[in-house]
Structures are given as C-alpha cells and as structure tokens.
Symmetry: C2
C-alpha cells in the first residue's frame, strides 16, 4: 500500500489520520498541502489549516526508495522512516523539547507526521547571516550528553545495550556515511565535486597516504565502535533554531557508533561557517565578532556537554565503571576523537559529493577557494594532531590560528 | 522437551539420532556412555562403541541452565549450545581441520554431538609436563588470522558484517567475561580467590586507580569494539593438541569483539605456563629449554598470525581500505591491544574467581606465590606499557626480563 504522496493527496492523508487530525486541527479546518521540496532525500510536505496556517500545521516526511535529489540511481532504504520515528521518541525521552513532536508513524507508507517548526530556521542558514543563537550551546551540549550517555554501556544494563545495538544496525544509511564521508573523497571517485581552484590541494590530500591512513582508522572506528545510539548526521542542517529554542531533526542515520562522531559534526560545521564568514560578513568588525561567537560556541558546546556528561556520570552511572581515573581518561579520549571526526566532516565537505551552503553560496570561485583552503588546513591539523589535543581550547585554537 | 542427559540415557540418545548413529557407528555397535565431568559449565559425555572405544566414539556436550561446577546460583543461558554449533561451522569453513567436526545440534535439548578428540589432550595439561608442540604456533596463528579477518569489515560486505554482529550479541556469556575478567578481580568481590601469600600484591593492584582505569578502558573496548567474530575464550584449556594436530574447542563465548582479545589470551596463557615452570620443571636445563620454547612460541604465533593476516589482506581485502599506511597502523594497533588483553587475562587468573591448572597445581603456597608474583609483574607491565609496544619482541621480552 506504499504510495508516494503529492501536494494533492497529502492533505487528505492527514485528514484521515485521527492521531494527527484530532490532535492538531479543528473540525471545520480546510487543509492545504505544500511540497516543501527542501529535503535532499525525502518527500517533505507542510499541511496547514487555511484558517490558521502558522498555528495549526504539521510536517509530513515520507521516505522514497532512493534519494530525492539524485534519483533512482541512488537507492536508499525505506526503513529510514521507521528509524526516524523510533529515534524521535528515544530522543524525546532523554531530551524533552529538543526534538520535534512525533504525531504519527505509518509503517506501510514509510512516513512520519511531526511538529511543524515554522518558528525555527535551519541553523546553517542563520549562520550565513551572522545570527547569534544565545542558547544553542546549552541546548546541543545537553542533547548530546544525554542521548549519548543514556544509550551507552555507562548507563544501560549490559544486555539491554547489546539488544538495542542489534536493533539499530542501520546498514543502508551507515553505508552512505562510510562512502561519502570516509572513502570517496580520498579516492578518484566520479561522485566527488570540488572547486577547480583548489585542484592542487585536493590532489595533495588524495596522495597523502599518512592522512588517508588516519581517515581509514576513523572509518574503521565509525564501523566498529558501538558506544552509543548516535544521531549520525548532526550537522547544522539537521538543527533548527531560533533565539530561544533548538530542535534536532533528521535522526534517520542513527546507529550504535562513536559518541564523538556527533560532537565532531557540530564542531566541524561551526568551523565551516567560520571559514565562510570572510565572504558572508564583509564588514571586518561584524566578521570578527561573529567568528568569535562561533569559536566561543564551539568551546561552550564542549564545556556544557562535559558538565552534563559528568553530572550524569555522578548520578546515573551503572556500577561497573567506578574509578575516577577511568572517567578522566574517557572524557579526554572523547575530546580527541571529536577533533578527529570534526576533521573528517570538514574535509569531506570540500572534497566529496555533499557540500554545505555556507561555502557553496559564495559565488566567486576564488573567494570560495580561499575559504575552502582554510577549511582544508583546519581539517588536516585536526586529523593529524588529534592525539595531542588536551583541552577544548586546543581544539578551537586550530580554527583561529 | 529439554531434559539433561545422564550416563544412562546418553547412549540411547545417540542411537536414536541418525545424523550421528549412521555416520559414526556400525549397525551392531553396543554403545557405552561415560560422564566425563570435565567441563566447568556443561554436561560432557563420551559415547563409544564397546567393540572399538577409540575408533568409534563421539562427544555429547549439553548446556545446563547454570554453570555445572557452581550450581544454580550461577545461571548461564542454554542458548550457548546453539552458539557453539553455529561457531563450529563458521570456524570449520575458514579453518577446516582446526576445530572438531560437528555431527549434530539439537535445539530442543541444547546439545551438540561432535568429534571425540581422544588422540588429543588439553594443551594446558601438556604444558605442565613440558610437552613441545612443534606445529601449535602455525596452527593457532592461522586459525586466528583466518577467523578474525574473514568475519571483519576488512572482508565482509558492510551489511553482512552488521547483520552477523546483530546475530551474535551473546549477552549472557559476554557478561561472564565482563565480570570475571574485567571487573570483579579489581573490586572487593566475594567471588575473588587468591593465594593469601600475595595479599599485599593483590591489595596494591586493587588500590591502583591508574591500573584500574586501564583495565576499565579494556573492558569498555571488549564491550564496544565490534571488530570480528572472536572465539572469546581462547585460553590453553580451549585448545586440544598432539604432536601433529591442533583443535580449537569451546567457542560458546563468541561475539563481535576486539580481535586482540583472542590473541591476547593465547599469549597470556603461554606466559602463565612460563611462570609455573619454576615449579613444574625443577631441573634447570629442562626449565630453561621449555621456557625458551614458550616465548619462542609466543613470537612464532604472532609472526604466523601476522604473515597470514597480511596474505589475506593482499588477496581478500574488500575495496574499502586500500592504503598501505592504514594496514601498517592497523597491525601495530592489534599487537598493542594483544599485550593489553594478555595483561587482563594474566592478572585475573591470579586475582579473580577462575584460576589455571598451571599455577593451582603447585601445592606449596609460597612456591606458588613466587610464580604468581611473576605473573602479576608481567601483567602489570603489559597493561601499563602496551601503547609503547612496537614489535612482538617487545611483548615477549616482558615475560623473560
């Protein structure tokens, strides 16, 4: 019974789904469906009441058997809708208010109906306009600490964790990351896209076997380090924000992987924004202020993550890990791996298939190349130096030096 | 229909199991069942033909819902019989001849019927008598290289490996290792047993937070590092040998864990034998010769493991890991982790619940304490120094220095 919805059918679908219709809308509402066409891989519709478009509305997100913007040549598993519905509920349990509300999941139609975040914007777009999000570090730091700690062996009984791991192997979407983040950018792969102005830098990275060895070591960790149920795609395009609030969306890449992959993606995407500000914030004062906010936010995100993680360690640790020295070794190791995975995300956004709006929105190829070279330098330093990182200041200094 | 077998019922069971009866025995054979009572956790029977006790015989190994030598206070999952049957078949595919032949698995009775290794002896017993096994290093090195490589992400397609991992989480038996190897020996746990002559050394280790931090880091790796389908219990009591042949038995602890756990257990149990020879080989020349064979065997085991692993890497690697520098980094990392897990096995055999015959068969407590102190020193050096190990000679030198 799986049928991809359209602008014309989606309103009817909502109207005949009591878990949505009865909860969100009023009996005499006329519903309007709009194809937002803003996901890379899924169908995404907004359905709103004609009488109150902002007040009474939902998002309908439906999986296709392939990636929407690429087409049928890039197959993707339909089960990602189930994973998203599952994760939204798990995340909401640990972090109420930091994920959109899930109204309904339809296993036959492979779709989720969820809260419409029409008072929020995609964080990446806000960063391009030098928007300050005063609560972001607090929200994302707590989100990561809680979702990662509470799904790990630090908290869960040994058997529950192993069963959760087995229930969340997600091979289809992991493969996308294994290829696009950790493999293809370092190979002669026809999917790679890069600015011709940095041909020399791209070739140098692809010829650097020491760098590639570190990258494959990270890929191996991504594939074998079953620490926690990670979000798996926590870049600034998966975060919606406003001045007061933060919502983490799009958890369909979730699986049991390395905690630092999530933290590293946040760090890397703040760094990519930092690189892009040379173009987006042409006024020197505005640029300096905003770049300082970005690196301050990197530090604050880690500090809040660490503070919350230590708090959970003190209150909710299971009894099997009771030594202080182990905790200190553990937290330092997560920080170092954060730099490593931040490197992987930074480099692949310049050299691989999927770039970011921060840099792609710079129309002049030479200006963009300057920003991209800075990003490559940051990524390379993080990657080749992560074992020497002792503090978040060491990590953030790589972006400003 | 699960019923524990007895000496009186086991022969009848075999006679009514065509996959055994028709394959191993002759139509007019009278069968005799004997309770070998030599497993720690299972019922183990030999069933042989009265006419040819050595020529026509099988082993029947049946799981109990608890550990046999402890009793019902130590529950163990019945599904370990299924895991053993599954693993014997997987191992036989990669290493024909290095595991006992499986004739029959009975899912209701939770038992396996397998080849009777009546021409072999448990390796640990042979080591106590200074027996030289000229082919052991070759056999065990190849066994480990092949079983570990062929079940890892180096060889398997990404999705097959993840499905295999999910199908082999084995929480019940992993918990035994998590507790008995990595946790209890470092706590004030009533299950711990140690020689009162080393009270001071035991207390010092339990008070050493830096050492305990390293041990918990290893435990965390054991629980989160899903590299390969490891044997999980590869000590010299799980290996049966004679002058020509080696058979690896008892794979019911198997799960996706760190490769180096298997290699480390082999190394540690050779080292424990080395420590015990001061008693078992009272003649100085015999002792020196045998101890040299033991450390030579440690080195040879690694060299053969590494040679075979590199051969498989060259011929059977999947396409996702193609850099030489990564391979070198990978092999060195496995060696270092081998020292680390060898340390865990060495220390827990002195301080925890389950000791080894090598040392327990030394009746004089002071003589035993001398050997145990050496083992503790070896374990501590491996544990606190494994990140500095660059070669197998570095690892083996810890035993002889």
């Amino acid at each position: 019974m799986y049928t991809p919805l359209t602008e014309h059918t989606v309103a009817d679908y909502v109207k005949h789904t009591p878990a949505v219709w009865a909860v969100v809308f009023q009996p005499d509402d006329d519903l309007v469906g709009i194809d937002l066409a803003d996901g890379n891989v899924n169908l995404v519709f907004r359905v709103h009441s004609a009488a109150d478009p902002l007040g009474r509305s939902v998002i309908v997100k439906q999986a296709l058997p392939y990636a929407r913007i690429v087409g049928e040549s890039f197959p993707m598993p339909l089960e990602r809708a189930r994973i998203e519905a599952d994760l939204l509920q798990i995340e909401a349990r640990h972090c109420p208010g930091l994920v959109p509300r899930l109204y309904h999941y339809d296993d036959d139609m492979h779709l989720c109906v969820m809260q419409d975040l029409n008072q929020h914007m995609i964080m990446r777009k806000g960063l391009v306009n030098q928007t300050i999000y005063p609560h972001f570090a607090e929200h994302i730091g707590v989100f990561m600490a809680r979702t990662l700690f509470y799904t790990s062996d630090l908290y869960l009984p040994h058997d529950v964790k192993k069963q959760n791991m087995a229930a969340h192997i997600n091979p289809g979407l992991c493969k996308v990351t294994e290829d696009l983040v950790f493999t293809d950018p370092y190979m002669d792969n026809p999917g790679n896209v890069w600015n011709p102005a940095i041909d020399a830098e791209a070739a140098a990275i692809r010829a650097d076997d020491a760098l590639r060895a570190e990258m494959f070591t990270l890929k191996y960790a991504f594939m074998t380090k079953a620490e926690a149920l990670i979000h798996g795609d926590l870049h600034t395009g998966s975060i919606m924000v406003n001045a007061d609030d933060t919502k983490v969306i799009d958890p369909e890449f979730a699986f049991y992987g390395p905690m630092a992959f999530d933290i590293g993606l946040v760090m890397a995407n703040l760094a990519l924004s930092h690189c892009s500000q040379a173009y987006h914030a042409p006024d020197a004062h505005t640029r300096a202020t905003y770049q300082t906010w970005l690196t301050d936010t990197m530090r604050a995100t880690w500090h809040i993550f660490e503070r919350e993680f230590r708090r959970l360690w003190a209150t909710d640790l299971n009894s099997q890990w009771a030594t202080d020295a182990f905790r200190e070794q553990y937290i330092k190791r997560v920080l170092q791996e954060t730099a490593a995975f931040a490197a992987a995300e930074t480099l692949r956004r310049i050299l691989g298939l999927a770039h970011t709006y921060d840099l792609e929105s710079i129309p002049d190829l030479e200006a963009r190349a300057d920003a991209e070279r800075r990003a490559l330098t940051i990524g390379r330093r993080w990657l080749m130096g992560y074992r020497q990182i002792e503090s978040i200041d060491d990590l953030a200094r790589v972006v400003t030096d």
